[in-house]
Symmetry: C2
Subunit: 544 residues, 2 copies
């Protein structure tokens, strides 16, 4: 690596850094060097185990006990990053990364981050950098239209969009707005009566937001979902939870519905849920953190049917939209409800012509923090550099790769696709039958095991599996424990290999493996490799 | 500009971007281009008016109504940034920027941001990227030691540090921790009794955090400060506010003390404040957002005297520590109080060896959001690239420049330094006498005016000013209104010129101009220029 070879050229105690910290020659020299370093990282990314294999505390052993007194040259620092940091990274940008949800990087997202960082403005209000505020408003209109969000969520329809850091912040902000709106009706002393609803598949962001906003833990409802709805929230369950809370003298406040749950990408049915929620006066937030991006493609937009009944909608452009962390897009129908709760008007930033004129959006009042990064820059670069057409193609290519993987799973009868695939993630498991006599030592025994292997090896013996449990996921208790143990072991083995990285979920008591396509560098061949790894590790576990 | 000239070389409808969004050749080509673009921006930054002069809505007129269907080349995008975005930027990186507090960029901070963005890991828990968690723990120990924070705030003393986005988040997190700790003692239904304390100089972050955390507005105390304490919070005032709340049946909860207030960089006396607060069981958070950085220099560390009595301490490395936005450093004595309030343990990220072993820090439970950027990278690069010695020198050079400006203000008797300068910010105003007969048309009249000018022009006539109001800042009501009007007009005129940018504050009813040194590119000559601009604009206003 070039940057490494330069090590010897600059003495360790070089005081070259004592010059101005924005010296332009150094800025360019070191800037190019880091561009090369990162390009090199991407080029060689497949050489690293995807899941970092270091042990807790590893870095403390490698770094000095305190900050250096004298400057160190960039060459030394990059050398340490190569040798000490990279081994401790779980490589979210690796084409072999299929864990959690993607964190899809891109050139445009990266450059946007560079430009925003280069300007390094603190755009809390319009005047602090008009372009930051205005560009944000504009790209949020662009993206809202790409998603076919109802006009009521756009500035053009008296709603509006804002960039937050993460969904956690977006949910907290909207929950606080809903809370204060409700308390102004029912009395400020009734915070202890407010109830927040999600399903047991809703992201933990809702629970955290509720905790922060002062909602009592006993008033947090994680409504049960089942396989019968593919783990989507049932409007009937919501209604009955709301009704029993009302009977108990509580005040239903807030529903978080999800388009693409974390565990299985389940889609909560927006229209009937909003109908129920609106009947009882709840604020509905739609969390489309992962799957929202797909809705720029016409074929996915039906998942948003009924969103017009919601109050707010968010997606994370930093997940599956090529915009580096962090970049959560939040739209609201009634931004005033938000600013009423979050506005502060300190003299030092308020008394200026633009703010006084009320002609401008003051985004500081749309979020938790005062200070704001220039996040719209990266989203703007992504939209312009790729264009709507390519962005759709990129997302579709991920969906296509997930379909390929799904077909591979289906074709091997030792495995099962656990829930319908909605987007670019496949939830699957190895069936306990695959473990043969190890599993069924006091059940069907060796015969099944031997048949099982034959099925896999020569395509014979289908009956064993067809009579097995491939069509249902709710095994009896005994089977389920075996299945969970098997899949836990399988995933651990796969990830320890470093060849690919996948993560798990537990739904309906069942431990499943999630295969989420979306890392930008992933191609078809990586999907085939991943499947081969899965099969090989199962082979090893069952002792083929 | 090179990047601009390339415009014609790449056809607008080039589909070169349809390739993989992380194509390495393009990554390097475009990466270098953006490095050049930003270097060029810094090189020419003095050519732009510091405060953007655009009008609300300007950008909407310049950009298309919707996102492009087809990709656009980087050259076109950079061209638009140059022509449409830069004019809308208030140039926080300009050497002529003296507004608010600095947002001091640096090569190291920028490169750290690039590297973190390049890896683009989502380090919510240890396993999601061990290096991100471990490096954060390490640099927070380094920086804590540089500040001579008591060991009880460091991991080595069972406390610990975490990087948050902004002070708003840091205060919200600690307030929520304090709230829940108190509610577990006094009963969860008593949230309406909890009282939060700051001074009328405390940053609005406290008010916002209190609003979000569900503290009633009527229970938020912004305790009056006066000139007699240079606008620092008086322990006696705190005690009396606490006592009267207790008498009223309320529950004192939280005090936010400030090292370096936003308006005037006042320093609240930590030791006596903590004594009072601890006697009544309050959580004390110390907000050293701006001035904390200075405490890496021995000569400023006395401002931290008594911090051992506080529960948490934060500073913004993105203000005056060369680490680009956002990077708030928070240390706590009892991280468990924080994680008790903020922890969520969803199956999908928790069930792994490291988390289960409890050997590792899980930073997701130390903050509002789940997802976490690799912020420690930039702080690490800043510490290593410059070293403790240089970092102190940089900060001292800013303090020295503020001293120069202070001396210039003092040397012109038409002006006054309003409060003692503690760090690198000077608070000053033009005295109403300077306006001569315009101000004193029915007072002392022309004679004073003429003397006034002579003082300025030839160094004579001192008596007029010495007998004037240079020694007190609390003018009578009539004078104060005149003074405020004059200084408001003066600042507006200065900023409209685009030559420099300063902002204002109002303390004790007095409108003052803040001159905050800290933009990385600022040198002595920029300070002299700034002072010349101030004088010229006053000359113009008073009609010389």
């Amino acid at each position: 690596m070039n940057t490494m070879q330069a090590d010897n050229l600059v003495p360790k105690n070089s005081s070259s850094c004592a010059m101005n910290p924005l010296n332009l020659e150094e800025f360019k020299r070191q800037g190019y060097m880091v561009i090369d370093f990162i390009a090199n990282y991407y080029q060689n990314i497949e050489k690293h185990p995807v899941l970092s294999q270091v042990e807790p505390g590893y870095l403390k052993e490698l770094l000095p006990k305190s900050a250096p007194f004298s400057p160190e040259p960039i060459e030394t620092i990059l050398h340490d990053i190569q040798n000490h940091i990279i081994p401790g990274i779980t490589h979210w940008q690796s084409p072999h990364y299929f864990g959690y949800f993607p964190s899809s990087g891109s050139i445009a997202g990266f450059l946007g981050e560079m430009l925003g960082t280069g300007f390094n403005v603190v755009g809390f209000n319009w005047m602090a950098s008009p372009a930051a505020t205005e560009l944000e408003g504009i790209v949020m209109e662009w993206l809202g239209e790409m998603l076919t969000l109802p006009k009521s969520f756009l500035f053009a329809g008296n709603g509006g969009g804002v960039l937050q850091g993460t969904t956690c912040e977006a949910i907290l902000c909207t929950l606080v707005a809903a809370r204060d709106q409700m308390l102004s009706q029912v009395g400020k002393d009734n915070i202890g009566k407010l109830v927040v609803y999600g399903s047991n598949q809703t992201h933990s962001a809702l629970q955290k937001a509720a905790q922060v906003a002062g909602i009592l833990k006993k008033n947090f409802r994680a409504i049960e979902t089942t396989e019968s709805t593919s783990f989507a929230l049932s409007p009937d369950s919501l209604r009955s939870a709301i009704c029993s809370d009302i009977e108990a003298g509580l005040v239903p406040l807030f529903l978080c519905a999800t388009i693409g749950t974390t565990a299985t990408t389940a889609v909560d049915p927006l229209r009937p849920l909003c109908d129920v929620a609106n009947r009882y006066g709840l604020w509905v937030h739609v969390d489309a953190a992962y799957a929202g991006s797909a809705c720029i493609c016409p074929e996915f937009q039906h998942f948003l049917d009924g969103v017009e009944g919601a109050h707010s909608f968010s997606l994370n452009a930093h997940k599956w939209f090529f915009t580096t962390l962090d970049c959560c897009c939040l739209w609201l129908k009634d931004p005033k409800a938000l600013t009423k709760s979050l506005a502060t008007n300190p003299e030092f930033i308020m008394n200026n012509h633009a703010s006084n004129s009320e002609q401008v959006v003051e985004y500081k009042d749309w979020q938790i923090a005062l200070s704001r990064r220039f996040r719209s820059m990266k989203l703007w670069l992504v939209l312009r550099s790729y264009g709507v057409d390519n962005l759709r193609s990129f997302l579709r290519s991920h969906v296509k790769m997930a379909q390929i993987f799904e077909e591979l799973v289906v074709s091997d009868k030792r495995f099962q696709v656990v829930v319908p695939r909605n987007f670019a993630m496949v939830c699957f498991r190895a069936l306990p039958l695959a473990m043969g006599n190890k599993v069924y030592e006091n059940g069907m025994g060796n015969k099944v095991y031997e048949n099982g292997n034959k099925v896999y090896e020569n395509g014979m013996g289908n009956n064993v599996y067809e009579n097995g449990m491939a069509q249902k996921i709710t095994d009896d208790q005994h089977d389920q424990e075996r299945s969970n143990q098997l899949n836990q072991e399988l995933l651990k083995s796969i990830n320890a290999s470093g060849h690919v990285y996948m993560t798990h979920a537990v739904v309906g008591g069942l431990y499943i493996i999630r295969f989420a396509v979306g890392a930008t560098l992933t191609e078809d061949r990586h999907v085939f490799t991943a499947w081969k790894v899965v099969q090989e590790h199962l082979d090893a576990i069952i002792g083929i």
